[in-house]
Amino acid sequence: MITLKNIEKVYRTTRIETLALTNINLSIAPGEFISIMGPSGCGKSTLLNLMGLLDEPSAGQVQIGGEVVTQYRDRELARLRNRKIGFIFQSFHLINDLSVIDNVEIPLLYRKGDAVGASRREMAREALEKVGLSNRMKHFPGQLSGGQKQRVAIARAIVGRPDIILADEPTGNLDSAMGNEIMNILQQLNAGGATIVMVTHDETMAKQTHRLIRLFDGALVGDSVLARTDD
């Protein structure tokens, strides 16, 4: 589903050069639930951004669902992000001036052709039902708790039915009870067939995934398959 070959990422500013990732080779199969761990600044977010086509590697190749995206332009990258990938962020990134359901609808707005108004509404409602928030559709993000906000963000990530969900510390801003709730939702999505890559600082969360990748100083230092506790 996702293949990274010889990835290197260098951030260049006028004065300093940061080697954020080096020599990353990684292959993620459909349906996997992967966690990425590592100390702060080791390149986890950078790696996730490359997988999510939000950033380009300095060297190496990224494949998403068999498509090599190296030569892709903005329009094609945007299409892939929109169709294949759902993002979940630590700080939710909801638009405060839009209601919950309007926030959830956004990915469908960037999809030309299908989904007209009414069916967009219907898809957004379904996504919100999946995260248990169908009773908060007309609320605004400011009126929600952190856990609820993250569930809205998850609904937004899944509304377009992407194959891949990329989550950057999705429980980082939440207490453990809410964190567990989010984790349960992610597990359900994974059970439904979604490939999930999650960055986390929490060992117990990571233990609930299928595979754990460890990064250190931009390098991949560990890749272990975890014993499945539940399913």
Partner: protein, 384 residues
Amino acid sequence: MISHLFKLIWNKKKAHALLIIEIWASFMVLFGLLSLIVFNIRNYSQPLGFTYENVWAIGLQSNQDTVGIPQKAQRIFQRLKAYPEVASVSRASNNFPFSSSNMNTRVDHEKRHTMVEYYIVDAHFSNTLEMPLVAGRWYRGADSVGKFKPIVINQKASEELFENENPLGKIISKDKQVIGVVGNFKGKGEFMSNQPALFEQLDENNDWNKTMLVRVKPGTDAMFEAKVVKDLSAMQAGWSVEVDHLTDSRKTQHNLTLVPVIIALIVSGFLLVNVALGLFGILNLSIARRRGEIGLRRALGATGRGISTQFIGEIWVLATFALLIGLLFAVQFPLLDVFDLQRGIYVTAMLIAVGIIYGIVTLCALFPSRQAAMIQPAVALHEE
């Protein structure tokens, strides 16, 4: 997408209220200014109804002299006519073309009435000013012996008094009979709107109305002008003689119209530039504040171009709100007929103002939205 933008703007309407007021105010100013300009352009495009090149107005003041004024004036008239440089002379009242004086009177016919500019001019007037007649004829000296005073009116006056009926032979205000009709007569110049005008035969035995309109032959120079002034002053000691070229007085009349328009244009121009700069600043700021949202939208599938389209779309939505309010105000002018202008003028002004406002906001949004499109999604998302 459009309804999405409407929602976004609507939900932020409080934050945008000032911006909306600003755009609304600019629209109102533009609407006012454009109404004025359209009004003047429309007037300008209507024919003047006479020619003024090579026509001089010779003003005569008898000052302390009180005896035999009409005879002396007639002698001057004859003298002027005798110059080989002079093609035609006419004696007229002080409200001759491009002069600063007016003479209005109310005339009626049966139940209809109208205000007319009232010119008292002699039989040569139409000839001197090369006024084409559209019906009937200009009066002659001999006409004055009849029961009614012979008059010529312009078409505008004819429409006001007789609508579509034939005006020839009709009696106006009991003692005046229409014997001829001219087309337009815009005595104060091209910028004047076409108003009703009435020409009545000048009584040569009158002390008043002794401005001499002289059409000189082309190429006549200032030497001749000096000679005329000298000759006339010598003929009638104590009288003052003043020569105005109609081309000059026309310019003066035009300035009376143009100067206020130009001042309004400059003031509005500054205002609009100010508004545009303000708008530009606000947009830049709002884009800086919304970097997170920009990154997010990119992550969710927006292209760079999509982002810049969104920002331009938002400002259009905002402008549309402001313009709807503005139009609500603007339509009152034609509906209530505030300034007695034609509706078409207001409508044209509205359309142009709407176009200019959309143009300005687009121009202001262009650069900031380009900037927004270039924001790197990973960087923008990282910042929050």
